[in-house]
Symmetry: none
Subunit: 121 residues, 4 copies
DNA sequence: GTGGTCTAGACCACC
DNA sequence: GTGGTCTAGACCACA
């Protein structure tokens, strides 16, 4: 898998997993792949995957059963969604608006771009 | 000043300066603040400011007169605008669209947010 | 049952059994629950219970009759008590004292806590 | 430095630093030794020290200035003390009391031990 | 098999 | 110089 150069891989893996949870690819109380499997799957060192999992554990998106594996925390989907939504609307969106204004991008042009992107993807 | 945790400070300073240029706060052939002033203003090491300026020099947004200071390159505003626009439309926008989709944010709700933001700010 | 995060489960189970012996809940030459029962009771893998029992066997707190089960060793209560007492006085107490000092907890306040705890429980 | 066998080194280092803060060995907004220095000082790998610092950062006992080092968070002493005190009184003490009861240790004998320990250390 | 810790060492970006 | 990330590989405890 290809990772973005300028963001730590372990955070990108965390994002990946959050996405899968939002996508219902990983459901609540379901086991996520083992650190080793994930590592070889993504072509990264297990330690790096471990860091992702550690991080996700601290934000309570996953929990672990010792000797068994990591599992999606019940309620994680809702929580992740709301956190992401909050941060998007309160932090990212204002920056986007600011940029749009600065760059003199026409609102309706932008909205059309978004609409098309949503249809397409 | 507060900087984003996960982005080099020198790039954030560069962004800041570009913004000012787009804002007409710094006009062409006008002098930008000295490295020293900028540093103490932002609470960062002058070396860090220096890196920003070097970076801006390589992308030809500013130029320097030795012993005098740094100045905005003529035409910088147009160039910066087009660079930013490109990167916004090609790189940021797709990510935004992806996120919006993932978070089940209604397109029209989003567009309204943007419209309002533009009116307000 | 909930286990402490940072101590092996099998040792915590061993502690549990020692407690029962000190409590006279399990008496000498009496059978302790089967590995299977203990496992489902505590919600842990039978292998983990097995390890506890093995450990207790090596320190001669229990012994096994093959095909029958595990039994409390005669004299175990005395032995366990003295082991625990030693380790409490020599290892735990100094740490407690150190902590109390570090946290500026008044000696008499602490002693009162202990006295009350003993009366209550 | 010697570490306890059965507790992760990185947590022991974290404890060490908390102690120093409680001791006023490290004061608020004061810099703690660099990861590398700490590593060679304690005879552990810098990565291990890093984990300690990471942990202490998440619980907001220290903060970092990029490229400069780690510093004690203002208010850390008070916070650490109160957290430690709470956990001692609510979690550890009941266990101690339980053990004391189980082992038939005389309250006054115990209290004397504590008093002496406090005088001595 | 699982996760967890640790080491060694490299390389990077940043100050 | 600082912290941060990543790899490789070892070893351990645990289920």
């Amino acid at each position: 898998m290809n990772f973005d150069e300028h963001k730590p891989i372990y955070l990108q893996i965390a994002d990946l997993i959050c996405e899968k949870i939002l996508n219902d690819a990983y459901r609540e109380d379901e086991r996520v792949p083992s650190i080793r499997d994930m590592g070889s799957l993504l072509g990264v060192n297990p330690n790096t995957v471990m860091r992702s999992f550690e991080y996700l554990k601290t934000i309570e998106v996953i929990y672990d059963k010792r000797g068994v594996g990591f599992f999606v925390t019940p309620g994680a989907k809702t929580v992740v969604k709301s956190i992401f939504k909050q941060s998007f609307l309160n932090e990212e969106l204002p920056l986007i608006v600011k940029k749009v204004k600065l760059l003199d991008i026409e609102t309706e042009v932008l909205c059309n771009h978004i609409r098309e992107g949503l249809k397409a993807g």
